[in-house]
């Protein structure tokens, strides 16, 4: 068999694996958006089955044979060619996935499908006890997963690598160490600032039907294609790309706060724009049609949410429109008032609703806790207490209930341990990418004022989206910005922004 033939067969097999995973994605999306409670058990069986099937087909020894045939052939001569990238990343994934027994994959999918439903109930009742046995099951399975993968140093490394290939726990700890001091200092200066925005502007009555309309307008304006996607409502917002032509996002509405659904939607649109910008049709089911890492994914969502959505220029264009829709609540509100209100910094319970300055402290907390869960230093039963005491330390507020505490995020219920640090990586990448985009497009912020977001999107598509997995995250960052990842662009961006708003 020639390498070319082997490559063709590999493509065919990966396409099949992708089709199964994309069915899984539809079932997962539907489970969270519309499924009645009674469907929980069947859905967990369905998803467990499909997960087992895609795992079995991907880890088939034949895939290994095909990889061996194409590796070192002419196809990999140019390491940045489509074929070479697809081969390299498939090998990476193959070597990891073949370490996982099919039974574990099925059990994890079935268990997390049920655990997510229990988490939703627990969160609604604000009762950790409901969720505790499920957290125990999930953590237990995830630890087994880490053991199956194998690792150097601590087991958390094995998990982190799923989301951010090649990055270690020590890397993350180092990033946090650098960021933490500067962040804490910024938050302290803001606390003692001479002037403060009036946050109550965005805490008036914002009719949900009108919010939906406004969110759709904003999502469409920044590039979300409603012919190739939907915006729905879920307990925990997320993005799911089923494949070419179909990307779903969700949000949740608070009738007394404009920020939550609005910036949540822009965040998910950022994820969706990345998925929509990948060449999924051309590279169906292949690494070149897939995102680089969760950190890079978050850089896209956080950029549209923050660098775009929380910029003053964005609201030059959109505030007049918002005023026509939320007439009474925004009457007489100036651009500066509004800009201040949406950038009001205050310690708060909920990560996804946090301001940019305190956001990374939320991640730091989760990183420490899940690292301890995985190492075994922290028992699931002790989570609420541990969460609350650390929260008090970092934010200086008492957690009033579990829904505002350790039950707020969906991640642990669905087995996403090792995922949280990628949010902070995303913030760092987003600031660094955005600084470069501003250099490359000198009038970028003026474009925002005119309601033109295509310039930024084109830049992202060319530099990031269409690259698929050609480069790993750190290398992509160097290629695009000319620099290794650093916490400086993010701190510069925040110091400047809050300096202006708070007069510090």
């Amino acid at each position: 068999m020639s390498p070319q033939e082997a490559y063709k067969e590999l493509e065919k097999r990966l396409k099949e694996v992708f089709l199964i995973q994309s069915c899984q994605a539809v079932l997962g999306w539907e489970e969270r958006t519309y499924m009645p409670r009674g469907g929980t058990e069947l859905r967990s069986e369905q998803r467990g089955y499909l997960a087992g099937q895609s795992h079995e087909k991907f880890t088939d020894p034949r895939v290994g044979e095909l990889l061996s045939t194409v590796e070192g052939s002419g196809l990999t001569k140019d390491p940045e060619s489509v074929e070479a990238v697809n081969i390299r990343e498939t090998r990476y994934r193959y070597d990891k996935d073949t370490k996982l027994p099919k039974e574990l994959v099925e059990e994890l999918t079935r268990t997390t499908s049920l655990a997510e439903a229990e988490w939703a109930t627990a969160r609604q009742k604000s009762d950790f006890k409901v969720f505790q046995p499920w957290l125990e099951k999930v953590v237990n399975l995830i630890r087994k997963k880490a053991e199956a993968y194998g690792y150097e140093g601590e087991p958390y490394n094995a998990l982190l690598d799923d989301y951010e290939p090649g990055v270690t726990t020590d890397d993350i700890a180092e990033v946090f160490a650098k960021l933490r001091g500067e962040l804490v200092s910024l938050v302290a200066r803001i606390k003692d600032a001479p002037r403060k925005p009036d946050a109550s502007i965005v805490e008036r009555v914002y009719d949900i039907e009108r919010q939906k309309l406004f969110n759709e307008m904003v999502a469409g304006a920044i590039g979300f294609d409603f012919n190739a996607g939907r915006l729905d409502v879920t307990t925990h917002p997320f993005t799911s790309c089923f494949g070419p032509g179909d990307t779903r996002i969700t949000t949740r509405y608070n009738p007394r706060r404009l920020n939550d659904a609005l910036f949540g939607t822009m965040h998910e649109v950022g994820h969706a724009l990345y998925e929509m910008g990948l060449e999924k049709k051309e590279h169906f089911g292949m690494p070149m049609g897939e995102s680089v890492s969760l950190g890079i994914h978050e850089s896209q969502s956080r950029m549209w949410e923050n660098q775009v959505g929380r910029s003053k220029e964005f609201w030059v264009y959109f505030l007049p429109q918002a005023k026509r829709i939320f007439r009474e609540s925004l009457e007489g509100v100036t651009l500066d008032d509004f800009y201040g209100a949406i950038n009001y910094v205050t310690p708060s319970y909920i990560r996804v609703e946090a301001d940019e300055a305190t956001y990374n402290l939320h991640i730091l907390l989760r990183f420490e806790l899940e690292r301890a869960l995985i190492s075994g230093d922290l028992k699931p039963a002790d989570m609420p207490g541990e969460w609350n005491s650390r929260f008090k330390k970092y934010f200086d507020i008492e957690v009033d209930n579990d829904a505002n505490g350790c039950l707020q995020d969906v991640h642990w219920s669905i087995g996403y341990l090792g995922y949280f640090p990628t949010y902070t990586l995303g913030n760092l990448y987003s600031a660094q990418f955005f600084a470069k985009a501003r250099k490359d497009i000198p009038d970028l912020m003026q474009q925002f004022e005119l309601g033109n977001y295509g310039g930024l999107l084109d830049w992202l598509r060319k530099n990031i989206h269409r690259q698929g997995q050609r480069y790993r995250a750190n290398k992509l960052c160097e290629k695009v910005t000319g620099q290794a990842l650093s916490h400086k662009p993010l701190m510069e961006y925040m110091n400047k922004k809050y300096g202006e708003i708070y007069g510090i």
Copy 2:
């Protein structure tokens, strides 16, 4: 291998097949309810793939071996035992399905998935030309399917058998022949009746949000469990049971007609109650947990729609509630007025909105046309002309556009040829079952007046639902009613009902 072991393995394999089909069902439902247009192509690939997988696994020669091992063993000694029924019906399906090549199954699923989207567009534009090439593709594939199955007499027999096992085209033609004369006579007498109800009562303004609420109330009252199902909106109403605990129904709303969504909903609830009443959990993926035939399925939907929903007693309970919700439109309307209005008989374009008297003429028309499509006597290109001229003959009205004509039903786009006659079988079965239920429960109609529908539901569950596929349709009918299927109960029911309403 002992028969018991073989049976266990058979169960395991059928469970897997069912899981794949149930994933398919979720994807199909989502395609019709929420999927954005851009997802069409991917969805057709996904569904084609899953259809191929379930076909391959079901027709695996190992299934044939297992069947041979269990057949004639002690397991089949009592032909009405769970095991014997599961073995008998699995064999029947296996012998049919093994005749179909996997490629045909995949192609049919992919093609109909795309064809349905094109049909929806064609119907919206009321332009048959948009749909014609797809109808040609589907008919071509369906004829291949009939050839692959093989048949005695005409190819239509092979298709009909998929929906109504054991019934032939001649059987259907005979039923129609008996029914037709009496129906035509009834419709003629109604046309010349001395008194006529005022249909305009149900053609006032009925706010859609209020209709939704009312439909949910009615659906819940007659037994639809919203914890184990949903009611959504689609172009063409349907029911889809994913498996135990999750049954979906849909309807469509007309802001100027109360009947359409209301009786459409009750119809689909009837299907759903059957699915919810089957012992799907106990007989997961096995024939004993599945419905007998489409005819029996329709008997359930038509019974709840007509014998219950269009009875006067039902509205003794529900009219006062409807009046509170549709205050202005129903002001001053008496029970008799309302009962007359919902039972107004008039030739009309749309089958699913037809009255009980003309309904079966719609089926007759479709039966003749699809039989001709399959035999090759009718070319898809000639469908609109042929539809319209026959429609004129049966209903004495000119079809004004394709959306009101041959594009109104989804069935042909999704390859359901041979399906339509089961609607009329359903009407016959429903009348015969209902007459027996009234005998067994003397105060049944008084129960309706009190808002109690549990008596009927219990009777259906015991006599029909929980029987699964223990008996074929005709035998079930004899077991339940003591009589073979006859057109007389339906005609007696209609003659009596319309005699009272129209004074004939």
